[in-house]
């Protein structure tokens, strides 16, 4: 009844997580939630890397996942710093109210 789990299962899960994160980035207004959605997207990528790492019986995918985590940490730190600076200057955390570059 229950099929054994293959790499394709992990790919489907990773694609679904990627889509949820993309919808979060595109549709939400709150910048904090947008940053969280970016974390979801990076995690979807990591699931893919780990799935192929165990599929190919190589450890390289896991090393790449470590680098992805490193970049995610740097991105979260800088992004939240920018958010604090933005809130101090414009008193808003809604992405569509920051429209200085709009025509």
């Amino acid at each position: 009844m229950l099929h054994p789990i293959t790499t394709a299962h992990y790919l489907v899960l990773s694609a679904a997580l990627l889509l949820v994160g993309t919808i979060g980035v595109l549709a939400r207004r709150n910048i904090v939630v947008i940053l969280m959605s970016i974390e979801l997207i990076l995690n979807a990528v990591n699931i893919n890397l780990i799935a192929f790492s165990s599929h190919l019986q190589q450890v390289t995918g896991q090393i790449f996942a470590i680098f992805v985590v490193t970049v995610a940490v740097a991105e979260a730190a800088v992004g939240l710093g920018i958010l604090i600076a933005l809130f101090r200057n414009k008193e808003t955390v809604l992405a569509d109210e920051v429209d200085l570059l709009k025509w």
């Binding site: 207004r29 974390e39 165990s54 450890v59 991105e75 800088v78 710093g81 955390v93 809604l94």
Partner: protein, 169 residues
């Protein structure tokens, strides 16, 4: 059999947590559901026998990044944002395009699903040592330069976030 059950449990945890993360009104609730989702991903790492990344996921994401998020949520006044409209005006377009991309992705995964036969393990690899030892061997020999570059990236990120959070830029 147990693997299958655990996979579906962790997959449900990951996806339900993710969906609730992007739909909750309060940012604190979003952060809590994101913790659930990230823990589910950690469980998936454990199922794939990536024990080191499981530990990294728990310590770094759930312990580090999420605390950072919660600190920022407390520093920034989110009451106004919680009462405002949560989705922007092009959310229907965003949903439609994301679903279209999803359709393409699932189609191709379905097409190629037959090709995912597990590879035979390489004959030379010694199976006695653990996951962390293998990772460290690769990381500190073949990937030493990217490893050092990652430290520079983290230094730049530290300096950048301190400068960004200063009173006067």
């Amino acid at each position: 059999m147990t693997d299958t059950l655990f996979f579906y449990a962790f997959a449900l945890m990951t996806l339900a947590g993710a969906v609730l993360t992007i739909t909750r009104r309060s940012a604190v609730h979003s952060a809590m559901w994101l913790i659930v989702s990230l823990s589910g991903v950690a469980g998936l790492y454990l199922l794939q026998k990536a024990e080191f990344l499981f530990a990294v996921q728990i310590v770094l994401y759930v312990g580090g990044i999420m605390v950072l998020f919660l600190f920022v949520i407390m520093l920034v006044n989110l009451d106004l944002a919680a009462r405002a409209r949560q989705f922007n005006r092009q959310w229907q377009l965003a949903l439609a395009s994301a679903l279209a991309v999803g359709g393409v992705l699932f189609y191709f995964i379905r097409q190629g699903a037959g090709a995912f036969q597990p590879a035979s393990p390489p004959v030379s690899s010694p199976v006695v040592e653990g996951n962390t030892e293998r990772l460290a061997d690769e990381l500190f020999s073949q990937y030493l330069l990217p490893f050092e570059l990652a430290s520079i990236l983290l230094l730049v990120a530290i300096v950048g976030s301190v400068v960004m959070a200063k009173k006067r830029i």
